[in-house]
Structures are given as C-alpha cells and as structure tokens.
Symmetry: D2
Subunit: 143 residues, 4 copies
Amino acid sequence: MAHDAIRELVERVTYAPGYTKAVGTRVESAEPGYIVMSLAKTDDLLQVNGFFHGGVIAGLADHAAGGAVTTAMPPGRFAVTANLQVSFLAPAKGTLLIARARALQVGGTIGVARVDVVSIADGAETACALAIVTLRGVDFPAK
Amino acid sequence: MAHDAIRELVERVTYAPGYTKAVGTRVESAEPGYIVMSLAKTDDLLQVNGFFHGGVIAGLADHAAGGAVTTAMPPGRFAVTANLQVSFLAPAKGTLLIARARALQVGGTIGVARVDVVSIADGAETACALAIVTLRGVDFPAK
Amino acid sequence: MAHDAIRELVERVTYAPGYTKAVGTRVESAEPGYIVMSLAKTDDLLQVNGFFHGGVIAGLADHAAGGAVTTAMPPGRFAVTANLQVSFLAPAKGTLLIARARALQVGGTIGVARVDVVSIADGAETACALAIVTLRGVDFPAK
Amino acid sequence: MAHDAIRELVERVTYAPGYTKAVGTRVESAEPGYIVMSLAKTDDLLQVNGFFHGGVIAGLADHAAGGAVTTAMPPGRFAVTANLQVSFLAPAKGTLLIARARALQVGGTIGVARVDVVSIADGAETACALAIVTLRGVDFPAK
C-alpha cells in the first residue's frame, strides 16, 4: 500500500469509536511494518500508585503491533493478536507513553512484532515495557 | 489475612480512582490466592469489530492476577506485574468478561498466576483468553 | 485420524533420529489434541544444581505441544511452534519429567496448547512448569 | 566483578557436566550484562525436518539469559529463570546458532534479558528467534 493509504487505514481503525479512541490513542507515524503511537496521561489510565496501568500499556502495545503487522501484510489482510507478551521494565511514571512497533516477521498466516514502549517525563524517555506480539492474518473485515 | 480484609483490600485497589474503576471492573469474589473479577461491555471497551479489545482483556487479567498473588503473599507485601502473557483463544463477543485468577506459585520474591478469561453471551461462557502472569513482591505502598 | 494412526505419527516424529530421540523422550499416550510424554533423568539433561535444565523442560513442553495441536489439525497438516512461553513453578528435582499437552484451540491457521510439566520424585508429582504454546499449521513435510 | 572473573564464572557454569556441556554450548564472550554463546549443529540437536529443535534454541537462549542477568547482579547472587518466552522467526537451517543475551533491567529481586538468536549458514546470519527471559535472583549455590 502507499504510505498515505497505510496511514489512513491505521488512523481509521485507531480513531473509530471504541477503546483506542476512548483512551486517546494517537497515531504518530505509520509506514509498512513500522508504527508509532502515543497515549497521554489522564486520571482514567492510571493504577493506584499513579503510574500508567499495565493493562493500558499492554493495550497500546497490542494495538500498535496490529498496525505494524497489518501494514506489512498483503492488501486485504488484517492481523489479529494470537499471543501478547509484555515485560514491564520500569514504572510508567511519565505523562506520555510512546509505543514503537516493528514487524519482525510476516508470513502468509502469521506475523510477529516487537514493541518498545517508553514513558516521557520532563522530556526524557524511560523504557517501561517490551512486548512481543504474535498475530494471525484474517481477511479484512467489511467496513 | 481474614477473608473480609482480603476482599476489602482488593476492592479498595480496584475501585480507587483510575483505570480499573473507569472501565467498570467489578470484584466478584476474593479469597487468598483466588480472585474473580468481571467487566461489562460498553462502547468504550471495544475494538473496531465490536468485540472487547485485546488490551481490555489483558488489563482485566493483569489486575486479577495482581489480586490473586497479592492476597497469597504475606501481609504488607504487594505484587506488581513483571511479565504478562495472554493467549487469545476466541473473539470476546459477549456482553460480560469474567476473569478467574489463581496463584499457582508464590515465593518470597515472585509469584505466578494463571488467569482464565471467559466472555458471556446469552448466558453461555466462551473461553476467550488464557493468561500467565509473573509478578514480583514489593512493600505495600503507603495509603 | 484413528487413534492408532495418531500414536504412530507422534511416535514416528518423536523417535526419529534427532533431539527428542537423543534425550530419550517417550510417548506415554496420544489421542487427538492430548499428548503425554515423559523424559527420564540422565546426567546430560541437568543444570549445575543437579535439576533438569530449563531448556530440557522447555523442549519437552514444545514437542508435546506440537503433538497435541498436530493431532487436532486436519490430516496432512503439521503444527510448528511460533511462540513458546514457559513459566517455571518449582525446581525439577525428580527423576522423571511428565508433560501433559492439551490443544486449547485449533483453527485453520494456528493452534494453542497448554502443557503442564510435572517432575516425579519418590512417586509423588510436583508441578514444575506451565507452558502455553502457539503453533501455526503447515503442510506435512514429505517423509 | 572483573571481566576475567565474569568469564570464568560463565564458563564454569556452562562447561560443568550437564546439559549445556553435553550439547556443546560455547561461551563466545562475557561481560557484565551481555553474553554471547554458540552451539554447533550435530545430529542430536535437530528436529525431524533437519533444523535445530525449538527446545535446543530455547535452552541456549535460557542459558545465555541466565549469564547476562547473573553477571549484572551483585556478587554472590545468581539468576534463575522464572519465565521464558521465545518467538521463532525463521527455521534454524544453519550449521551454528549464536545467542546474544543482554540484560535489559536488573533489580534487587528480578532481572529481564533479551536474547537474539541467529543461525549461520554459508557465513550469513539469519534471525531465527527472539527470547525475553524473566529471572529471579537467588543466593549463589555453594560450589
């Protein structure tokens, strides 16, 4: 797909009514096999200690991985998560999360993405999670 | 801890302002090492295909696992997730998610929980995810 | 497949020259979607502390999972591991490992198996690992 | 620890009688938090298709991760695997496996390592697996 079409696809899925729109996920950049998304801190995304909740980090990584693998698959195919694994490396203390998802391998039936999630505090990045996501390809859902 | 104290602890953490309260997580039952939580379908929890978003399922499993391992640890210790792994077994098509988290192993420094997540549609359960969560114990945060 | 054919298939793959034969893997039982394998302690399978090496446990779980999912797939398809995740619950101190692998979900392209690994010491079982394995289906390799 | 002491420790554990010595694991380099190990192809390490068995790849990654995290921990502490997750990216067709393990985070109780495993064929590297390993620290076993 052309880059414009890829970004349009990722934005359409991300900004459609539902979880990713509700929490405020933003598409920062989108190219085939590499997606960057961000999520700004709000009170509804935190755990009791005031940091981003692990489920929010996992959800951002999962969604970015889906974009990275889908955009690396043939047109008409869509990647859905089969297995999500997240290692939490440091508390997400910042005011912004950035997830950088790269497709490591994409085949006819499955794809694998690595997602590095960092939190931004005072302009500095801290690696807070590393996710490896295994996805399977399905036919694109009708709009 | 006494069962009443355990349920009070799990409810306090779950219903405190933040992600788990915002999405509507409910504590169904709580005993040492075994926690059941539920989450009702709302438009803000779905992915574009109308099913629960994988991140929402992962977040519920993560939170329930934290409760199961924390309540199996000595008083004064709190379990935080080090590694979250979720296998998605079927689309979460139902109107309610139920997560049943059981501590499989709890030691001085870490604990492991298995979480079975089912979705309920027309009164029938469908297994939609299986999570294995590895957590580390930390001193309980001051209230 | 008939049960006899399934057992013959699993034994043929397990006892063929290579890793699983070299370490002494035994097929204890085989039915569609559920495989039990065992591995007896030998000096070459241990880590420095005298317990079974984690890689040996992971290999047994991986192989048993492949059998469980392959036998649940249509004839002519073979399951190869895409993602292997093992949680180690206790040191494998025993003289025998037993892996019980059950296919949890098998679709057209992928399958997921859960494997419970126990070690046997003095006739008693201790759960030493829990594995969740995600596999993809490929056409059966020519003999 | 001094680099010499670190290499001596990693070699001692790797070359001690047991699994890693039996399969032929070699320590290529060792520095605090970063270990490179290799494993040459032999008939006893393969699966039926002639490639390295997934369990062998998982075992090499697990062992290298243990070295990376142990050498990043305070003297007297030893890292044992709590959770091993391996994504298989391509068949390990080569004649040599190389595992590069880097400690991503090491705390008082746990550590996380990322391991990139490549296979070498005709002098060219192919990424065949990516592992994320979560380990917990224990007191060093008496020699």
